[in-house]
Amino acid sequence: MPIFKDELTIVLAGEAGQGIQTIEVLLTGLLKSGGYHIFATKEYMSRVRGGMNSTTLRVASRRVAALREKIDLFIPLHRDAINHLRHRLTEETVIIGDQEQIDYRPMIDVPFTKMALEIGNAVFANSLAVGLLAGLLKIDAEKCRQFIARYFGKKDEETRGKNMAAVQRGFSIGVGLTGKVDVHMVRDPSVAEEALFTGGEAVALGALAGGCNFLCAYPMSPGTAVLTHMAAYAKSIDVIVEQVEDEIGVVNMAIAAWYTGARAMVTTSGGGFALMTEGVSLAGMIESPLVVHVAQRPGPATGLPTRTEQGDLNLVLYAGHGEFPRIILAPKNIEEAFILSQGAFNLADKYQVPVFILTDQYLMDTYYNLPCFKLDDLPAERYVSRTREDYRRFSFTATGVSPRGVPGFGEGIVCVDSDEHDEGGYITEDANLRARMVDKRLRKAAVVKSDALPPVFTGADGYDALIVGWGSTYPAIAEAIERIGRSDLAHLHFSWVYPLAPETASYLQKAKKIIVVEQNATGQFGQLLKLETGCQIDSILKYNGLPFSVEELVREIQVRCRE
């Protein structure tokens, strides 16, 4: 009989519209309240009904933040689910499903559909599954009942009642499975006091903590998550949230909002960002702060709208005509999605440059329990100056950063022009002045670089191989290296992707072998490292639209280290 003592990876799969999303929300909340550490991520098709979607829940007795490939417990809610995830099933995988519908042996037969129909509708199969897992994982029956009642509290009485009946029926079945499959994990009651945030929520909350009071966007998966969350937060917090006609309008609105003294952010994905690039150049020219959240998905063009990739680093790095400084941040996990989104506003305001928060679908749709974010040490710094009558927006300074006034605050006027301009903002074609203005804008790049956060190094000195990652792959790489357990293997992770911190080269030069792990086909970050440091780079690349799992990184890193 399979007994799970440390961790358990549960996957539920079904058609879009079968309520996989609801199952995920209910189970993560329930299991967390029961003292389990929980990690959840989903993969889904770009359609509203049909197809095949799945959610992976990793339940553990310690913190978990990365995707496991192997499925321990699988609940297929549709006959196609087995084929969809066959590559993740092993002989040890316990499958619980409707034997009548799903042609697979061996399987623990639970007639979900028949029971759901008895309750009133096939749709209640999802609540049955929730109850079953709650029972199997020994969640307190009364707590479970209260939780479900609260979740369906706003629904009509019939919907609430039938869902609760389904959960309770599933719960008894789950309890009854003892003997066929057993879960005996140490639980930590303090987990119940922790929070569950998706990457999308963390970016939106971080932005608010950074003083964001203007968010505009055109909906595009997976960047829409931040728009939706911000719109919900705007019910209690003063932030203008506007859905604009197109991404060109979006970026121009955001820049003009900063010009007027707002703290503005846009959120999009690669295709939408491509439309914004002229605006990014405008921000460079008029030295406007700007915060751009780009949640990457696989391209080119429409690509795979609901899948993940890190393929837009070069797009963001080189976006916009002309030469001007920029900052690119790529949060390594959900905590950093909050902290770096908060910091992005201070950086943008301080240096008057575009700041990019580069995430991806995987980070947007992933969550795990973690302590509530604290705002104590994260002030929203403001750099707006009151203008005097002789104010000039682009006055020359040693750092290249001029005091930034806003219209209506002081005796001066604030003049900005996308043409090359003089210190006052008036158009010039004076060649000398043009060169001085270019130098002024680029001087800021040096100051920014000196402020760049160094990469996070994990490992012992005297490493042979250095595994390098950037952005959301951090938890998977970290866990893979931990599992491999070799002392000559170290991990270097970049959340501040551009400009690279001055320490970068020294880390790379100590390694005999540098392996950059990236979710793209051409090794874009590796190319950047090579360009900046001259080091030889090897890569582990994945670009099929699915995120790295811990196991595949273990395999890939071991293969590369043997080479």
Partner: protein
């Protein structure tokens, strides 16, 4: 006469051709701002790119001279971020109706309280004489070598159809009448379009001062601009084109007045700081 604070105390080098209608439009705008007593430090001119869009460079006030076609989203954001500012968006027919056409459509839906002055010379000037969305059929240009055959846009009838709450047509040939129309547009609550006929003496040999004079007339004093049906009929009239305030609607609520951020707090966004307690409340709700 007292000095106009919106003018410069020194000579400025303007990039317009001698005899250009832009000089007259500038004169109207300077006088309109002065006569309305608008506060120079609380006024923002927003423009895109083109010869008309250089206007902010020659008015002594705040300006945001951004990208081609993008004046309207920028102006909307300026007004939304600080509703206390007087915001004017200005540019040419190519800038506002061509490159910025989509923003024009959606600005009519949003209805921010900004005045929109479009210098309509029916040709591209700065790029040297190509057809614009308002170029008349038959005009031969270096690009439309067999003559324009696309139907020209009538921005005034488009704006009335979209219920832009103030729609007017003016002519640079009469700076005083244009000034009066501009003043009404600035005072009107909501989006106020003034399409301004203007000859391009360098690139448009068809629509000259004389052509505009022969093909336009001012609306009678008793014309009722508040009736949308008759206003739309009037807006569709061509040859001659009516000049004056063609449509006005005092019912529409401006964009920024509907924004919840100003429901209980009238301060512009730059005067506000974030409220950590409220953010912490949301964070705690995720437990």
């Amino acid at each position: 006469m007292a000095e106009n604070r919106f003018d410069f105390p020194h000579n400025i080098d303007m990039a317009w051709c001698p005899g250009c209608g832009n000089f007259s439009i500038r004169r109207s705008l300077l006088a309109a701002l002065d006569e309305l007593g608008v506060v120079r430090e609380k006024t923002v001119l927003v423009s895109g790119i083109g010869q008309a869009a250089k206007m902010p460079q020659y008015i002594n006030t705040n300006f945001f001279n951004g990208l081609h076609g993008r004046a309207l989203p920028a102006a909307t954001a300026v007004k939304a971020s600080n509703p206390g500012l007087t915001v004017i968006a200005e540019g040419g027919d190519g800038d506002m109706y061509g490159e910025g056409g989509n923003h024009f459509l959606h600005a009519t839906r949003r209805n921010p309280d900004i005045a929109l002055f479009v210098h309509n010379n029916m040709v591209y000037g700065l790029t040297k004489g190509q057809a614009s969305p308002t170029t008349r059929v038959g005009m031969v240009t270096p690009v439309q070598t067999a003559g324009v055959f696309e139907k020209p846009l009538n921005p005034v009838s488009l704006a009335v159809a979209l219920d832009v709450p103030f729609v007017a047509r003016a002519s640079s040939a009469d700076w005083e009448k244009t000034k009066e129309i501009m003043k009404k547009a600035i005072l009107h609550r909501g989006l106020a379009l003034v399409d301004i006929f203007q000859p391009c003496i360098s690139f448009n040999k068809l629509n000259t001062y004389q052509w505009f004079k022969d093909n336009s007339y001012y609306l009678e004093d008793d014309y009722d601009s508040t009736n949308k049906t008759t206003a739309f009929a009037k807006a569709q009239e061509e040859f001659p084109f009516p000049l004056g305030v063609i449509y006005s609607n005092r019912e529409r609520v401006p964009f920024e007045e509907s924004l919840p951020v100003y429901a209980h707090d009238k301060r512009p966004l730059f005067e506000r700081t974030s409220v950590p307690e409220k953010i912490e409340q949301i964070i705690k709700s995720k437990v």
